[in-house]
Subunit: 222 residues, 2 copies
């Protein structure tokens, strides 16, 4: 597909926008995938995405592909990184502009279709093209971003315990966190306030319930 | 330059890597620019950058253009954002993959050439193509990034006062900062340690001198 101009040695590649849409389901980080109908990689799972059309904006391309392929719209997608691939003799040069978002699982309903599925990052099948690399890079960015922002708090219910917040962070980072260090860093974000209520869970001491200080700043954000 | 495939409606655009290289000189944020010799935009200032070559990696393209056009190499460039432009009937579709870095002014020496210049962001000339937009976006990212990282501390001399740190932050952000809030946030980054020495400056009280806790983590970083 890539052609080389006769006048210069620069190339005319294909450009796609591809989306890593993350959520947490049952304590696990999951990403939305779609099964490809056509070659190349027919039958493989892939990230939602498409080639950019003439005059289409990159953000619009990512949103269009997600809507067409999964039925989801009105999700704020953030541009992540641009990957360059080279497929000699096949499609030539392809640039993937990757987008990502983190959404509350209950708040999004992809089209009910066996070719659309949330996949746990810990049990991911092989993905088409370079989409495994894109997804791994998006997860690293996500894990870094939740350290210094309130991003992950958008996944929580209206009131929650600090243990529930820790479980969300552990799902995203894919590792256990030290309870004391986690709580100190979390409270330093200054996004939570105590409700004054407590919740009993099993044989544990009742745990304080918290809520977000400014819920309007959160919600579905990338 | 862009052509539309006969088989599909996606396009084959041009892709460039362009670099916003920032530093602080005399209390001002500056960016490195090069004057274009050729059309289009002959004689205009622009960011260092070039079209990507066949099989070239994006990072390599940005580094090559910077080295060829300014003589600078061995600078760690971080990918920032990809911009899509459309120039109907001229060059068609162009994607600019923007890179950026923040470097200590004394540590980098571009080639001595009247067509290579550091420009103060506050007195920027018109730039070629969409490079003003790229530079403005890179500055916003830089200003956000110094809030939660030790990035800007790489611009400081071996020992320094907190007033000197504040001056660097104010230059990058382009605004005056409240001294008390700034110092509290800065010390919370946990990157500084007192040297035990003080420095007298004018009629002010002697100011404590600080140094970086782990200077090896900093230096020339993007």
């Amino acid at each position: 597909m890539a052609t080389i101009s006769a006048e210069t040695d620069y190339i005319q590649p294909a450009v796609t926008a591809d989306t890593a849409l993350f959520s947490v389901r049952g304590g696990e980080l999951v990403a939305l995938t779609v099964r490809r109908e056509r070659e190349p990689f027919a039958g493989w799972w892939a990230l939602p995405g498409d080639y950019i059309r003439a005059e289409e904006a990159l953000d619009d391309c990512a949103a269009r592909a997600l809507a067409e392929q999964t039925g989801l719209d009105a999700i704020y997608l953030e541009q992540l990184y641009t990957f360059a691939s080279h497929y000699p003799g096949r499609w030539g040069r392809v640039f993937n502009v990757a987008y990502f978002a983190l959404v509350p699982f209950a708040a999004v309903s992809p089209r009910n279709d066996e070719n659309i599925a949330w996949q746990a990052l810990s049990r991911l099948p092989r993905l088409a093209f370079n989409h495994e690399d894109i997804l791994a890079s998006a997860r690293r960015r996500l894990a870094a971003k939740i350290e210094y922002s309130a991003l992950a708090l958008g996944l929580l219910p209206e009131v929650f315990t600090l243990a529930e917040v820790q479980a969300v962070y552990e799902a995203i980072k894919g590792e256990r966190l030290d309870k004391r260090n986690f709580r100190r860093a979390l409270l330093a974000l200054d996004q939570l306030e105590v409700t004054g209520e407590k919740r009993q869970s099993g044989a544990h001491r009742p745990a304080r319930l918290y809520r977000l200080r400014e819920p309007s700043n959160l919600g579905i954000i990338g």
